[in-house]
Amino acid sequence: MSVEAALGHLHSGDTATALRMLDAMSPCADGTIEAARGTVLLVAGRGEDAVQAFRAALAAGDNRPATLLNLALAQQSAGDMLAASTLMRRMAAAMPSWDEPRLRLAEALRASGDKAGAERAYQQVLELSPARIEALIGVGILLMQRGDGAAAQLPLLRACSEMVQQATSQPQLRAEAWDALGLALMQTSDFAAAEGAFMRARQMAPARLEFALHAADAARANGNVAASLAAAEMALDDDPLNPVLHVLRGMLLEHAGCRSDAVDALEAAVALTPDAPGPNAVLGGMLARSMRLREAERALRAALANDPGNPRCCNDLAAVLMRMHRPAEACELLTDLISRIPAPAPVLCNLANATASRGLQAEAVALAREAIAMAPHDMLPWRTLSGVLPYASETTITDLVDALRGCAAQLQRGTTPASVIDPRPHRRLRVGLLSGSLRCHPVGWLTIAAFEALDPATFELIAFALNAGTDPITRRFRSRMDGWHDIDALNDTIIAERIAAEKIDILIDLGGYGDNGRMTVCARRPAPVQIKWVGAQYHSSFIPEIDWMLTDRWQTPPALAHLYSERLLVLPDGYICYSPPPDAPDFAPLPALTNGYVTFGCFNNLAKITPVVIETWCRILRSVPIARMLLKTQQFSHPETRERVHAAFASHGVTQDRIMLQGPSQHRAFLGEYNKVDLVLDPFPYSGGLTTCEALWMGVPTITLPGEFFAARHSVSHLSNAGLADWVAADLESYVAQAIARASDLPRLAALRAGLRAHVAASPLCDAPRFGRNLGAALRQAWIAALQVSDPATIEERAA
């Protein structure tokens, strides 16, 4: 047994055997064995043990500079950056012609985030050894991180060429150089060359995941996805066990717009390397983009199990949990993340959204404002603020308008806005629907019946859809559409180009600033007439490119019209058409008649339930002493959230036994719970929307208190449209008084309930043929207005 033999095991990657062999040797006088142990321990990632070993070697008389430098590296590995950099600096000063201490110092400084110091140290290395490859790569990467891709290319190209000249046998290092060069070329939009550079990197290190991900990005940017995909598939035929090739194929499939196949390809990668975090992290991100949330959670948790605390995975998982209505867990993850790393604005935005969903509206607004202060010219923080403000009681209409204006101001505009091509006023129009919610989602339930009833002879419908799955509402949309574009994998510019290429006359946005909304596309003006309808329709968009807002006289009475930047396209009945689910349970008789007490209910999102709302409900409950209240929302699956809400009621004198907090159910069971509720109390300022319609369908009316902005008036619209305008309160006092009065008149409530479903079914709220005609007339009105001629007949003549 010799030290050389042990180090041979180390070089072949077997640190355990190497260490065992060294441990079995007797100590020698010159410290060689201890130094070798230190090296093995350093490679094994046991920094502190390595420090001890190197110190022992030095104490035993090992005075080689390499041992001293290794001690510095071990200190760095053990987290003692100060000691490490001090020792490296001392060595550099003591041995001015040796480049190694400077290079190690540069690497250590780069790793610790001291970019300027690192760059200086690399330059010193290059002054000593102009062809030192690691330094060339390091400088290149730092320049790239500064955003100077053009300057970075020079040292990186030199590194690549030096490696050829030096015939270096370090494929990993060569691959790093080519990969870094590829990234620098991407920064200067030299996509074809970048693709070539990444290909070289992949050839040298075929098992490196990042290189494959970079290659997929370059292929997409270079418009070369199809060819790259074919190449990846051919490579897989030869090497089906290579997980990196499966990941590459998956990413390319996603770029090609085949997300479901892409997920399958990544599943293959995960199955081949079940314990590696990388493929699971990539898969989790893709599943989240596909709204396959449960699977996304599983993949991201699997990634985190093997790479605990990975910031990207934590943030992605938090976003997934948010979409699964588990904001408390999302908050825990994000708060932990922020305690570990300096939080970028997007993380704060995620945290703001999660905080609002927990019912902590004021805190959410503060977080969103903090994010804006960090990144005032990014759209995301403004969008977040616009999204959380409507939930908060303290929000004024000025706050909301300012936030929406701020958001609109960050949007990039298009260079070639669409204009009217064929100005015949009464021709068949091509209407585009832009949305990530053409499915079982409020957008779906409130619009599908309208589109189905829109006359196909006069309106062609073309969907530009994100996240379209196969649920019954999506299938209804697909059946009505004359054209369908899945736009998941496309960026805003390409989506806008596609809409323009489809010669869409009227584009209806059904996403707003919400999750998966694409106001960024609308701002590019891909259609000559653009209308905002359901889908994060909190209020006006304040985007000049949105011409109209589809509304009704209850949502936007004339006195509030000045609060909108769009022209108001006022429908004669309500602004939506509710399509009741075929599997809705039968409604039950008034539960108070058998219970002996009244049960108030609210099944709205907890984000809408503010401290002021709870205080108001408590006033009502104190006045109807034996009444109870059933609150049902996804967030109540979290025990601490339930405790906090119980405590909030208790602080206003309403005990826990009177407040029932229920977590999520399947949709049918969710509707069935209305059979336990006598009347609904609407939250404010953000009112119920679909929830109010569903309650009506289950025979339960809602008392509402409208506000000024759009989202504060949904219930007014739905109730009035269903003939229940007398359930709208004029002010807070009247809201309380009305709740108390109605709770005391059970025969009247029972009679109303018995006939409510039939009444609602026959009302304009559910009258699809009538809505279809009205919607058709409104769209025609918007079209004719765009032609800027008041007399359609004249246009007809001219066009003829």
Binding site: L241, D264, P582, P769
Partner: protein
């Protein structure tokens, strides 16, 4: 830095392939199977396992012969593997090899007498073979061993119904529903059984129960609508069809029914798939049904044809020939061989059985006229144009395929109530179009055809009332 190398072992990989195939995720299964093949140890067991998985994948992709070959190879390696036998039995059933399927299913039972799935599979295969008593025995045993498996009960009910014991079948399905009340396919199976018994009140009761329990799927709502409609409860049927359409929006049959109820804007003509669906399911009883309706159209065509001078000798085309009733009345007077076309395979089979047609084609009417350039002396269209809205296009196509002096005889339905003044046609509640007489004449003129005669007649009887229509004869000048 992330370096990735495959670390999965063949067993976990094989399980993953199986999961992916079962989930229908072929895109994930295929590359994993390729990886598994590369990893394969070369043992018989390993090869047979890969063969079984390959066969599953191929079968999912519709490549049945290749799947069969893969399974044959796998079974040659492991001849006493019950799972492979069951798999091949299912595949053979798909390929209509009933004898082979029975042999494999029986072997699977012999290899493992405790395998309840194998017994049930044998029962299902025996139904296909027409061995109902044996099927009932196998399935009864399977049900008694695993009473929670509703699919076994559903198969048992099928066997009982095939054996002529509808009461037992109904009882079996009701028991299955009690055990698994949320399973919509069981509700549908029961409703279908009751429809076949023409017990419409019971269908409605079962449908309402399914709706109440949230276990009605599109088919359930459709059957409920059908039963309501059969009992004359049209407006309730329309509501039921609307619910069916929400759950099966891509179903042209349901869409057409909903359009007919006025809840959706009507299309210009009934979809081909609708006709195929309606008539494929109806062929057996079609003639009986028409006779019971006092169906007069073929006879009226014959009378009209004979009342005019003969057409030039030449071939005859029967558009939408159905079960061949028009062919039957023209067999002795046709000016040449008769060719029939229809969208329904079952209808064509019945026409073929009459041995009156020289050729029969399964084709959609307009595509046939577009693609087949042959000229005809006589074109007949009995009860066909009631599935078209505007007639201009179809008559133009007909005109192009008539010899000079050739004629076309067809009928349309009239309804003074439903066609608004000025409207050329309107979709009626019975899902057929009603045409205005002026539109028929205008469309004929547009197509360049001369009206030789247009006669108002009662076409059939519905609910004791005569259904009014027009018998029209056009001629190419």
């Amino acid at each position: 830095m992330t370096t990735l190398l495959a670390t999965a072992n063949p067993d976990t990989l094989a399980s993953r392939v199986q999961e992916m195939i079962d989930a229908g995720r072929i895109g994930a299964a295929r590359p994993l199977l390729a990886a598994l093949r590369r990893m394969g140890s070369g043992s018989d067991h390993s090869k047979a396992r890969i063969g079984g998985l390959s066969a599953r994948l191929l079968a999912r992709e519709g490549r049945l012969p290749e799947a069969g070959a893969a399974l044959d190879d796998a079974i040659a390696l492991l001849p006493e593997d019950g799972n492979l036998r069951k798999q091949r039995a299912e595949l053979r059933l798909q390929c209509d090899d009933k004898i082979g399927a029975v042999s494999d299913a029986a072997d699977a039972v012999i290899f493992d007498r405790t395998d309840v799935g194998a017994k049930a599979l044998l029962g299902i295969v025996l139904i296909e073979l027409g061995e109902y008593a044996d099927a009932i025995a196998c399935l009864t045993e399977a049900v008694s061993l695993q009473p929670q498996r509703s699919i076994f009960r559903q198969a048992l009910a099928q066997a009982q119904e095939c054996a002529g014991d509808r009461d037992a079948a109904t009882g079996t399905l009701r028991a299955a529903i009690a055990l698994a009340p949320s399973m919509a396919p069981l509700r549908t199976a029961l409703m279908l059984l009751l429809v076949r018994s023409r017990d419409f009140p019971a269908v409605i009761e079962a449908g309402e129960a399914a709706r109440h329990d949230g276990a009605a799927d599109a088919c359930g709502f459709g059957l409920l609508g059908h039963a309501l409609s059969s009992l004359g409860r049209g407006s309730e049927a329309a509501l039921s069809y609307r619910e069916a359409l929400k759950l099966a929006p891509e179903d042209p049959y349901v869409r057409h029914l909903v359009s007919a109820s006025g809840a959706l804007p009507a299309a210009e003509r009934a979809p081909t798939d609708y006709l195929r669906t309606v008539f494929d399911g109806y062929a057996e009883r079609f003639e009986l049904h028409l006779v019971s309706l006092g169906y007069r159209v073929p006879g009226l065509f014959r009378a009209e044809y004979l009342a005019h001078p003969p057409v030039p000798p030449g071939p005859v085309l029967d558009l939408g020939c159905g079960t061949g009733l028009v062919g039957l009345v023209f067999a002795d007077i046709a000016p040449g061989p008769i060719t029939g076309i229809d969208v329904s395979t079952s209808m064509l089979e019945q026409s073929a059985a009459k041995e009156l047609y020289s050729h029969l084609h399964e084709a959609e009417l307009e595509s046939f006229l577009d693609s087949n350039t042959q000229l005809w002396s006589l074109i007949l269209a009995g009860d066909v144009f009631c599935y078209f809205g505007l007639l201009g296009d179809v008559l133009t196509r007909v005109a192009l395929r008539l010899v000079p002096g050739g004629r076309c005889i067809f009928n349309v339905e009239l309804s003074a109530d439903t066609v608004q003044p000025g409207e050329p046609c309107q979709l009626g509640a019975n899902a057929r179009y009603h045409h205005a007489p002026w539109h028929v004449e205008q469309a004929a003129a547009q197509a360049g055809l001369t009206v030789r005669s247009i006669r108002r007649e009662g076409l059939r009887t519905e609910g004791g009332e005569s259904v009014p229509g027009l018998i029209v004869m056009l001629e190419r000048g």
